[in-house]
């Protein structure tokens, strides 16, 4: 009775609160959070004018032409980048998975240790490729090949190759291994075993995931434009720097519509392909 006079949870709660405050204080100072800046007279006036310009969205003829070209460029960056990523990810995914391992053939599906070890460099490379954010790759490629869509295409190709390679490897390992093993056991080449034993079962899932990633690539290509990798993003960045509210508004609207359409389209395509 006496033991429960005080709340047993009080001390842990107090400790947690103190800990939260101790962590929050440096976090607030490091993040330099200051909501007051937004209400500052000058700032508010400039921003007010900028936002007021949003309506009506810009719709002059030559601007619309520019917008149309930028939109097409964004779509093309995403599509071309995905195509390159696919070309890189297929061999990488095969190398990282163990479906076509010859040493696993007579070991009941478990590859030898050296065979597992040999897959680690490929897996590590895939991890690095996908863990560095695509926009960092874009920035690096902008410095290497100059401003423009080429940097965007290469950035998407590199990052998405990492993601697709990992997922492809997982898909290869999740499908029924017996057809491939039977083919390998019958002396067919590894490539033959892949095309006739693995791909037929894995193709649907692979395509579905790739289409989903293509949808993500559209979003990513717009974002990458902000570091100069072409497309809609680059135009938004330019218009923002010139405080052209109307242009920003119409480009944001086009971006939203694009994302929405890509979402619908990819859903349709995935429903068809699987």
């Amino acid at each position: 009775m006496n033991a429960a006079r005080h709340d047993p949870a009080a001390l842990p709660r107090l400790a947690l609160t103190v800990l939260a405050l101790v962590l929050l204080w440096p976090a607030l100072s490091l993040s330099e959070l200051n909501l007051g800046v937004l209400l500052d007279q000058d700032n508010a006036r400039t921003m007010g004018r900028f936002v007021a310009d949003f309506w009506p969205p810009a719709h002059q003829g030559d601007f619309l032409l520019l917008l149309w070209r930028a939109t097409l460029e964004t779509l093309a960056i995403a599509t071309a980048g995905m195509a390159l990523a696919l070309a890189l990810a297929l061999p990488a995914g095969l190398a990282a998975s163990r479906v076509l391992s010859l040493s696993a053939l007579h070991r009941g599906g478990r590859p030898a240790w050296w065979s597992l070890l040999a897959r680690w460099p490929v897996r590590g490379l895939l991890i690095v490729l996908r863990s560095v954010p695509e926009i960092v790759w874009a920035l690096l490629f902008v410095r290497a090949v100059g401003l423009g869509p080429t940097a965007g295409v290469l950035a998407i190709a590199i990052t998405y190759a990492g993601m697709l390679g990992k997922v492809y490897a997982e898909i290869f390992e999740s499908v029924d291994p017996r057809p491939a093993r039977a083919l390998l056991g019958a002396g067919s080449s590894r490539l033959g075993a892949f095309f006739y034993g693995v791909l037929p079962n894995a193709a649907g899932e692979m395509l579905s995931y790739s289409v989903y990633r293509w949808e993500c690539a559209i979003r990513a290509s717009v974002v990458m434009g902000f570091v100069g990798a072409g497309g809609l993003g680059q135009q938004i960045d330019l218009s923002m720097r010139m405080f052209a509210g109307g242009e920003v508004a119409s480009m944001l609207l086009v971006f939203l519509a694009l994302v929405l359409l890509a979402d619908q389209f990819s859903r349709l395509l995935r429903a068809r392909l699987t």
Binding site: D7, P8, A10
Partner: protein, 266 residues
Amino acid sequence: MTIRLHGVGLTHANGTRALADIDLRIEHGERVALIGPSGAGKTTLLRLLASALLPSSGDLELLGENPWRLSGRARQKLRRRIGLIHQSPPLPPRQRVVTAVAAGRLGQWSLARALVNLLYPLDIPGVRGELARLDLADKLFQRCDQLSGGQLQRAGIARVLYQAPQLILADEPVSAMDPVLAGHTLSVLGREAQNRGITLIASLHAVELALAHFPRVIGLRDGHVLFDRPAAEVSPEELAALYANEQLQPPGDARPLHNELQVQRC
């Protein structure tokens, strides 16, 4: 006068008539049991008295006021004087018993006090006192989902006692307890109501419990009051008429008289 109903009827949104033409007077400090077969309208009547439902017709007076003629703020003020004990108390499973019971007084507390109490229980002795009356003092700092169905019902009773209302409405308050505990709990509830001058209205499945613990018994059937008299004067014929043909109802609803002890959990 505590409660007055004149010609009160209630029709649910789906068109079923739950209560029709109820006339009722219950004085301050009375202890009344509501009995009747399931579907008779006991719960509806209690929810009506708790001002949870708006009557479709008739006059309703609670503690001298008509809740539906009051402003929202005044109605909340009236509601803090009325405590409703639910059959399966709606206590959040992850909340601790001490917090769940203290929540009974939220109507009286300022918002600041309510928020502080959420972090650190401010009135441990008071909450423990109410729980101790129901032999639950040792569960003070446990979570509600660690209680059995019967314990949860007793925690719900403790919450309403802690609220210290002038009118307690209890909807099957002991349905998840074994007969001995059910009798004990009802006598505690009755004693507390008597000592504090609280009017108590409880619906019960078990006729013998109603007759043993409540001076006045109201028999409800199909939304009508069948009889309303002192417990000592209730005749076996009236009881037979009250529960007549109950076994003819669909099997899901049929509940023999002696089998009121289903264990419900949250």
